[in-house]
Symmetry: none
Subunit: 413 residues, 2 copies
């Protein structure tokens, strides 16, 4: 069932509010197999709203509208939808009872605004609002459905979950969609595409989208079909073919973050870790401690920003910094080995680099980062070039360090 | 100038990604007086994209498109826009040089995908991409402007800020809008509104929006008018009236982050600082080191997650932890004093709390945080309740700690 979502509100058009309603509705519809083909946003302006209604209703058999149903002067959606469907308003007794009960609980007096909220278009069915006073509406014409809901997020969500989704679920026939997202780190989009080889052989009718970000590229597999089991099987087959090509770059699926995946690995193997950060400035520790339960494997983190703190806190020989500079393989290794020894953990990692925007030289440009790793058997440091923006440099370096630990634990490469 | 924003991507239609690009562009356009009248989102599907282009271009004189400009097969915007404007593709030497330079810095080999990224529509002007490989495009027809930008947020943002906004600013005529954002920390929206008193007396025709976030509430003043000088004067007057009421809560204006404001304060007074973090897990150090030049005042940060690391690294007496628990006023003070003494800095700060979601007790619930502060004369710790979500707890606690230092330096309260 092809669907358009229309969100109404001036606050969206000036960028004051990010449109999370759209994404919420889309995600819920998608989960039950309703396809959203378009999303439209217009302001609190009658002619624009009317135009968007007409266009959407012409394009698709399902339209879901949110916003502009409140009691104040700028809420004009109800008036506009009446005009669009050529309907008058009638006071609805169920709605009146619901509002009255709500007002009583909250000890608020009945006003003209509440009286107006009891009025609903004669041609619409009422969609109950379990958490607020603005009723929703459904206009139905020849198996085509036009929903109107308030824009207040928790009211909209309650009505989507309790009324719209259960209703539309019964109408969906035929096609099913399933997705799987594979999360990679340490490989650019272009290289990933190259390593995957011929895309048609790989996908055999499935779709694949690349979603890059500073922390890595996500690949989303999409399969459409008539039969749920065969669609799911096909997703699995495409996943296997992709994994056969680029398995080592894939650290997780769905919404899993690298620090969570690494956390599970460490916990499961009863390994402990400590971190000594220079250029990442605490970001690695911050990411690790975003994971609930990280205190079982994360012992400590040191942000050794000054040369002196590297010497004093990590036992890096002063001589080493003088000879090679703080941003060097030797210092990165000494930092990783130092934090591991002093914290008494299984693994130590370290970063030292030029975060920028100043401080770069031809030999050591902005974005140059050494990442150090030490465990019982090995101490090593790898050189990376992670870009030229301070925050992104920190993001990429932190992600690269976590990925290095993941690969060492799993003995990848 | 009436404008439509079109965002392209299947990930938006299935609700996997929230459309922050739209809001970013809208906010920037609004600030220079360009009116966004509609926002449209379509998937990675040629016919839908083409239809949305045709509709938007018919409606309004400015269209801004983002998404689908990457190097992989699912990026079909470039092909589609060529079809729409009936243009062929030519390899562009400036774009080639930019990509080659970027590849060299990041040590990535040249591939067919990069070759394709040098190709731009013959009828378009190139909009340089200062942070990525996908060039933007501008099609111009009789004072009408059709922009196409990549969808990767930081690339899109750089191109909006550096090219699109400066260009469109010169085309806007007539009424003038000016904004000023005042950034506060440590006071909720409702309390701020109460302290501001009667809103009409305060604003005298200006508009004021409250924008809350986990790190504080921003207040945005907006003034419309015909004359730039009088509009700017009025913004200044409203600002002064607001400052007269709530000055101490305002740490900065515009896009200034608290860590930048604090960094200037420290640098200007030649003060140094060190941080000992438990529940914030490195986030304070991360924020401080996001500021270029922070190495002059930030000496070190310790993430003392385990009790043992608090004892060993900060000299917190074991007895203190046993008697009062790690989350206590006494331990927060000992941590702040300890890091200050050991790092030899002017100021030491600390955090210890229950980040959750587990580990709370009736006496020490999730969200309880003690923030410690030590300087030459004073050692103190303050208790805060910062919420029940792990990441938001960290965010709020980190911001509160930075704000505490700002207020101590400026002797506020």
């Amino acid at each position: 069932m092809k669907t358009e979502i229309i969100t109404i509100g001036d606050e969206l058009l000036i960028g004051q509010v990010i449109n999370t309603n759209q994404a919420y509705i889309a995600e819920k519809l998608y989960a039950v197999g309703v396809d959203v083909l378009r999303m439209t946003t217009v302001g609190d302006e009658g002619e624009e709203i009317l135009a968007s209604f007409a266009e959407a209703w012409k394009r698709y058999p399902v339209v879901i509208v949110t916003g502009g149903l409140g009691p104040t002067h700028d809420d004009i959606t109800k008036k506009t939808v009446c005009k669009f469907f050529d309907s008058d308003l009638v006071s609805n007794e169920d709605v009146r009872r619901t509002i009255a009960a709500r007002m009583k609980t909250r000890n608020i007096a009945w006003t003209q605004a509440h009286e107006e909220q009891t009025m609903v278009p004669r041609k619409a069915k009422v969609i109950p609002n379990p958490v607020g006073t603005a009723a929703g509406m459904l206009f139905e014409e020849n198996n085509r459905y036009f929903f109107v809901l308030p824009g207040v997020p928790y009211e909209m969500k309650a009505m989507i979950d309790q009324s719209v989704i259960p209703f539309l679920s019964t109408k969906v026939t035929g096609s099913v969609i399933r997705h799987l997202t594979l999360r990679t780190s340490g490989i650019p989009e272009s290289m990933l595409a190259k390593q995957l080889g011929d895309i048609d052989t790989l996908l055999q009718g499935a779709k694949l989208a690349f979603l890059p970000s500073p922390t890595g590229v996500r690949m989303r597999i999409t399969v459409h079909g008539e039969n749920l089991l065969s669609v799911e099987a096909k997703v699995g087959e495409v996943e296997q073919r992709i994994r056969a090509k680029v398995e080592k770059h894939i650290y997780g699926t769905g919404e899993e973050e690298l620090e969570e995946v690494l956390g599970h690995l460490l916990a499961e193997r009863k390994l402990t870790m400590a971190v000594a950060e220079s250029c990442t400035g605490g970001l690695i520790a911050d990411k690790i401690t975003n994971v609930s339960g990280s205190s079982t494997y994360f012992e400590r983190g040191l942000v050794t920003y000054s040369n002196w703190s590297k010497i004093e806190l990590l036992g890096v020989p002063e001589e080493l910094i003088r000879t090679h500079g703080a941003v060097s393989k030797e210092v990165a290794e000494a930092m990783a080995a130092g934090i591991r020894r002093l914290a008494g953990t299984d693994i130590g990692i370290s970063t030292t680099g030029v975060a920028g925007p100043t401080g770069g030289t031809p030999a050591k440009p902005v974005g140059l980062v050494w990442i150090g790793y030490a465990d019982k058997e090995t101490t090593l440091a790898l050189r990376f070039n992670v870009g030229d923006d301070r925050k992104r440099t920190k993001e990429r370096a932190a992600q690269t360090a976590l990925e290095l630990v993941r690969r060492r634990i799993l003995k990848i490469e």
